[in-house]
Symmetry: C2
Subunit: 348 residues, 2 copies
């Protein structure tokens, strides 16, 4: 291993001066700096990350801890998250450690021990839920962290979208088209984002002087098979929905399949909207008719998340740095006014 000492010997300077030369300090002669840099590249010097960490107290490592699970479905989104996040964090010159706990491991304890053993500058937390203690734990520890999503009940740094608006916007659009029996294939209500979306849907109904039919609300794992079977159930009801809001595009894909299976035409018999996370690994392509709904790309979240976390780490005191990303709405071609729908069927 090539160290500062090797360089200092080579160029005949003190270790101090070599360190300053490479570190870009001012009190070093331009010619000297040149000489040092040349020697450094010639010898193939790479600063020792560990020694630097010990001295500076920063390791440049951020961690994400996920609870191991024997249930494959619960990992549905994780790949997208892990890959996107890791890429952004790597791009910022930080290291990303992924810690997959044993099933049933105490996640709070893992965070605590990992932080207390030094070596981790900060954490990323995803999918906060009312029950979990991770945010409180890290706040108490004084550890830098950032949350994807948010816990509305306590202040903390986060990057999120307006999930209330997601539910409200899509429900409102369908209500305005005259739909009344609107189903909502929501994500797991154990997480805040799904709770907020449900509230948004409720609010849209309330604004129209209506209320949702609980029989049309489902909380499911957000993958295609689950969406398919939930949609099949809904379409077999005595009084089936005329519209379905899907929590994401994978669920929507299941809805399209279920509709095809049941001989239900979209948008003729059934209007569909979905929230689109802009997944790169499961792209929302091939929907016929083209799917509409709210949209916010997760990739944008990873970029913000990484940059903000880096900033939070740099600032010793945690700023309540949070960010709500833009949401767009496109009505797509998979919805139809329920009045137009009927008149057209009656017509020519």
């Amino acid at each position: 291993m090539v160290t500062l000492k090797d360089i200092s010997r080579d160029v005949g300077l003190s270790i101090t001066q070599v360190s300053r030369a490479l570190g870009g300090h001012t009190d070093v002669n331009a010619a000297t700096r040149e000489r040092v840099q040349l020697a450094a590249t010639r010898l193939g010097y790479r600063p020792n990350a560990i020694a630097r960490s010990l001295k500076t107290g920063r390791s440049g490592i951020v961690a994400m801890i996920v609870a191991g699970s024997r249930d494959p479905d619960s990992n549905a989104h994780l790949f997208e998250i892990v890959m996107g996040l890791s890429a952004e964090i790597s791009a910022l010159g930080l290291q990303f450690v992924l810690h997959v706990g044993q099933p049933g491991a105490d996640v709070v304890k893992l965070h605590t021990e990992l932080y207390r053993s030094g070596g981790i500058d900060g954490f990323v937390i995803i999918g906060p839920s009312p029950a979990d203690q991770r945010i409180k734990c890290l706040t108490d520890l004084g550890a830098p962290f950032i949350v994807h999503g948010r816990d509305p009940e306590q202040p903390h740094p986060f990057v999120d979208i307006d999930n209330f608006d997601v539910g409200r916007t899509m429900a409102d659009h369908l209500l305005s088209l005259g739909h009344r029996r609107i189903a909502f294939l929501n994500g797991p209500l154990s997480e805040f984002f799904a709770i907020q979306r449900q509230r948004g849907v409720d609010a849209a109904f309330a604004a129209h002087g209506l209320s949702v039919d609980p029989a049309l609300i489902r909380s499911i794992t957000m993958i295609e098979p689950q969406g398919r079977s939930a949609a099949r159930d809904l379409l077999q009801l005595d009084n089936p929905p005329t519209a379905i809001i899907a929590g994401n595009t994978m669920i929507a894909r299941g809805v399209y399949h279920a509709a095809a299976d049941a001989g239900v035409s979209i948008p003729g018999d059934l209007s569909v909207l979905a929230h689109d996370d802009g997944l790169e690994l499961f792209p929302a392509v091939g929907f016929q008719p083209p799917l509409g709904g709210t949209s916010a790309h997760l990739s944008a979240a990873w970029i913000s998340l990484s940059a903000d976390l880096k900033q939070i780490i740099a600032a010793s005191k945690t700023p309540m740095h949070n960010r709500i990303l833009d949401l767009t709405f496109d009505k797509g071609s998979a919805t139809q006014s329920i009045l137009v729908d009927r008149s057209m069927r009656v017509g020519p």
Copy 2:
């Protein structure tokens, strides 16, 4: 942060002795050790990983570097790998850093720089291909590493299955049933495992005095949609195959769908075998009729891989520690003798 110094002050011993007490050395009084341990837990001491790393030269961190890619398909297996590997490595008390490079980044350079900057004890390499330089690079660096799969052209530590045998076994079984037009939906030939499987298939044909029809060999990304479209193509040939070997169960799923789409019955009109990686996130369930073929669980690979890597790191000189995991074969219920097939169709 609680350090050894804090404990030493608390119990009135030297830092040395505290370190020895906690480290389980012999030259410390049993009563003293007790006192020290109590103080350590009372104060909430956690050894500083960075200081320890600096002194011992080991960080307990292993890394996997994957080339970023804009092509979602190329990441098909990665999730399974990342989650499985990370879980096993975490379970061994090591940290797993996942570095997702920018698309087009120089992967060899990333390995080199990461290793040279200290802080990484070893690497995991997956999917070796004839072109890539990673193994040579790490060997030259003297960095501990282990490969999932192998490069038959150079010695290195690895964990692998006998992919030649995968191809040979399945082809042989179908040939023995009388099949002659056997298609092979292989993985990407850029990787060694697929090359070996192809050689195995070729060998089985040769052993029967036959040779494969190149028109029935496809090299595809190993996911369902690709399998489905490849199978559709094959079934539309003037002289379609009577059997298909799928590189994994996701491809097989595509084959089942394509067969259903084409009105081809399994195993009546088409025999199917597949290699089963025992994926936990995409389990091979719901095949009707039950799918057969060779099988080797990836989860076993992660366990071996992690344990072996840990051992390689502990031993300063890299042992050529390699391991070939067991392969099982089950004929399943998706194959049929081609003679029986015809006689039954002609019969009652």
